[in-house]
């Protein structure tokens, strides 16, 4: 049994990661000794009954208490307000970093520029990882010359988020590989965890969907609807589809710019087909998803995040259109309908026509998605996370040694000509390597 410090948003924070934590932590706490650390003002009382909750101040964490644990697990996402304190601790106290987003420029922009009001750190960080180009574009971003999405794609700052960590957990290795932001720490890719609803209830949803058989067929978009959710492309595709009268689109969730979307709906003449439902209370989610026929879950650009919404769509056996990018690109081909980012409108229309031609094929796709959830079992996820954390902690000497290696390189560069430093660097490298991992014969034994 491990003693674990857990840092993540906790319920009732408006965050998918808080929901994730509410699912994971009871299972984890049943198998290990867990303290969930928080700097939130409030934690849901029912959650506190399940897991030990302790408070910390990001600027002055209780190191003595934290060091009583075997390992700390930090959850980072793109919300600077929610994850800023967690990052501040993780930066100083090495542990396992779970990346819920991979492109973290937005996060660092918020932390450095707004929370800490340290533009110098923001620019220095960009320069550290991307050289002069990073600093140059960072200055352009600050003056409004470059947009946030462009910065996120060019300068994801993933390595900054995990620098000095003992290990990194991602929910998509391929998405991380695509970013070319390979961390210096060991990486584990775990399937995003989700507990499927029991089969009997699922069968009830299928019956409800069967009773609501179209046409018109109900399309659903769901979740926090930021600009990268491609609502514009979806509306355009729907408007351009000759068979559009055979669909109805429900947009459920908080919109990044509701007035803009309403104008688009007006402009495209879709008022009769599109319904803005807003944020749905829990009770209405079930009604909405159990009677929908096709979900649209596009992301572009992706921040590399796994999608809780996708898990929910599969839980309801809903066929789904997703963008072939980031984490989504790693989903099983037969359980999803892919949309290419560069051909969004055409691909969406093609899928909608295919749906009309053979609704049963899409129902089968949704069924396969439901089956795919078995890979995402919560218990397996927790065990894999702990196993990885244990093995990463065993390699913890690498953290101070890597820090030392950087310091040596920096120091030697200032006073020793490269021609004279070769021998010293080689000797130091050998010793540092052994300090990291021991001697070869010991490792073998």
């Amino acid at each position: 049994m491990l003693k674990i410090n857990w840092f993540s948003p906790l319920p009732p924070a408006h965050s998918g990661i808080a929901y994730y934590a509410s699912q994971i932590l009871p299972v984890l706490a049943g198998r290990h000794e867990v303290v969930a650390w928080t700097d939130q003002d409030q934690v849901a009382p029912e959650f506190s009954e399940m897991v030990t909750v302790a408070r910390y101040q990001p600027a002055n964490p209780p190191w003595r208490a934290l060091n009583d644990a075997d390992v700390s697990i930090y959850h980072l996402g793109n919300h600077g307000g929610i994850h800023g304190g967690i990052w501040q601790v993780s930066r100083r106290h090495p542990g396992i970093v779970v990346l819920h987003d991979l492109c973290l420029h937005d996060f660092f922009a918020m932390v450095f520029l707004r929370t800490l009001e340290r533009p110098d750190l923001y620019l220095a960080t960009l320069e550290r990882w991307y050289g002069e180009a990073g600093r140059h574009d960072g200055e352009a971003f600050r003056s409004g010359g470059i947009g946030a999405e462009t910065m996120a794609q060019r300068f994801p700052l993933t390595r900054e988020a995990v620098w000095g960590s003992l290990g990194v957990i991602t929910h998509s290795r391929s998405a991380l590989d695509d970013l070319r932001e390979k961390p210096a720490s060991p990486v584990a890719a775990l399937d995003f965890p989700y507990t499927a609803t029991p089969e009997a209830r699922y069968r009830g949803w299928l019956a409800a969907r069967g009773a609501a058989s179209g046409p018109p067929y109900r399309l659903v978009v769901f979740g926090y609807l930021s600009r990268n959710r491609r609502l514009g492309a979806l509306l355009e595709a729907l408007a351009g589809l000759g068979e559009r009268q055979q669909f109805r689109l429900d947009i459920c969730g908080q919109l990044w710019d509701e007035s803009h979307i309403r104008m688009e709906i007006d402009r495209l003449g879709l008022n009769a087909l599109v319904n803005l439902r807003g944020f749905l209370p829990d009770g209405q989610v079930e009604q909405e998803l159990s009677t929908a026929h096709l979900a649209v879950n596009l992301r572009y650009p992706s921040m590399g995040e796994a999608s809780l919404s996708q898990m929910q769509f599969w839980d309801y056996g809903l066929p789904t259109l997703v963008t072939r990018t980031g984490w989504y690109a790693s989903l099983p081909e037969d359980a999803i309908a892919f949309v290419r980012p560069e051909h969004e409108v055409a691909d969406i229309q093609a899928h909608l026509r295919a749906f009309l031609a053979d609704p049963a094929a899409f129902r089968a796709m949704g069924e396969r998605g439901r089956q795919a959830l078995k890979k995402h079992d919560l218990g397996n996820y927790v065990d894999a996370m702990v196993q990885f954390a244990s093995s990463a902690v065993a390699l913890s000497p690498r953290v101070p040694v890597l820090e030392l290696a950087g310091k040596i390189g920096h120091d030697l560069r200032q006073w020793l000509h490269p021609a004279a430093s070769d021998y010293l660097l080689e000797r130091a490298s050998q010793e540092l390597f052994t300090m990291c991992v021991g001697k070869a014969d010991d490792r073998d034994s």
């Binding site: 601790v89 953290v399 101070p400 040596i408 000797r427 130091a428 991992v437």
Partner: protein
């Protein structure tokens, strides 16, 4: 033989380790060899400094001096014993204890208070496991250190006892009304425990403390406790004393009180035995327990103020018993045959 004794030290701090290195150097020279002590400065705070010093040790080359081979290196303390040498033996005084059994000690733990404490701790542990076995022979200061090394790092070693400096000069005199406690003043030596015990004594027990504090705050803390407990009449702070004065203090004492936390060895115990004085120590004091036979050469008390107070009261109130224990202690020291000749023979063989 050219023999280099490698140790680490904190500038301006002198304690048992420095005395031992000096004694060893003298003994090696007395055996007809050339010997020098190389003391590397060591700074443990902040923890990030520690790996730097470990690496510095690993990069040192002490295989020869002015084209003359150094025949034997004897490593004593962390991180100096990490220095590589083809004919190195280690006579381990102790590992970096706050990375091991003192990691979470409420008073002595230091690394545990830093965010990078755990990773530095693990780096120290790995380096010890990796580099200590490079030595051709591994001895330790005491059975206590041998057991710790086995328990913490899985490395076998053999205890090798040495006499305190100036062993032949200790003597016995008529006991006066005080217990003697010579040691550096710090939380691990537990002067504070003795002060608290004094407040609970039923007899008018007095204690003379000799030695300097590791820092002013620790000295001030002890002084404050004495004031608050109204013990000023029964406590005397001698500060740093000469070796001669120290021997006098031993000789004239009723007994010695020495209750450190898991002491590696503890010259204080041996010096008390050489002065024919009983030793009061605690069940968790480590090294002294290898020499103090409870009820015969001293008393082993629980590590609480009350238990320690009862032990001090017992000897204060029964001087004849105290004297008998002291004589038995001297005889036990002689029976153990603790000599430098034996140490040098083992380390240079």
């Amino acid at each position: 033989m050219k023999v280099l004794i490698l140790t680490s030290g904190v500038p301006f701090i002198r304690g048992g380790a420095e005395i031992l290195a000096g004694g060893l150097c003298d003994a090696v020279c007395a055996a007809g060899h050339q010997a020098e002590i190389l003391t590397l400065p060591f700074q443990s705070c902040p923890p990030s400094r520690i790996p730097e010093q470990m690496l510095a040790c690993r990069l040192l080359d002490v295989t020869e001096t002015c084209s003359m081979r150094i025949d034997r290196v004897i490593g004593l303390k962390f991180p100096a014993y990490l220095v590589p040498h083809p004919r190195k033996v280690i006579w381990l005084l102790h590992q970096h204890r706050t990375a091991y059994e003192l990691w979470n000690h409420p008073a002595a733990g230091d690394l545990i208070h830093y965010p990078d404490g755990p990773v530095v701790r693990d780096a120290i542990r790995l380096a010890d496991r990796t580099f200590i076995p490079e030595a051709s022979s591994i001895y330790t200061l005491s059975r206590n250190v041998t057991e710790r090394l086995q328990r913490c790092s899985g490395i076998a070693s053999e205890p090798l006892y040495n006499p305190p400096a100036g062993a032949s000069l200790f003597y016995k005199s008529t006991p006066q009304d005080y217990f003697f406690f010579p040691s550096r003043i710090n939380p691990v030596k537990r002067q504070w425990l003795v002060i608290q015990a004094l407040a609970l004594c039923r007899e008018p027990v007095c204690v003379r403390f000799a030695g300097e504090a590791d820092n002013e705050a620790q000295q001030a803390e002890c002084a404050k406790a004495v004031r608050e407990l109204r013990l000023s009449e029964r406590v005397e702070w001698l500060g740093m004393v000469t070796e001669e004065r120290k021997r006098d203090c031993y000789a004239n004492s009723l007994g010695v009180v020495f209750p450190p936390v898991d002491e590696d060895y503890g010259y204080v115990t041996l010096e008390a035995m050489l002065s024919s004085k009983p030793v009061i120590t605690c069940v968790d004091s480590g090294g002294p327990l290898e020499f103090v036979v409870d009820g015969q050469t001293g008393l082993v008390a629980g590590a609480t103020p009350q238990a320690l107070a009862e032990a001090m009261d017992a000897l204060w109130g029964d001087r004849r018993r105290a004297a008998t224990m002291g004589e038995t202690g001297l005889q036990r020291y002689r029976d153990l045959k603790i000599t430098w000749e034996n140490v040098v023979e083992k380390l240079l063989c």
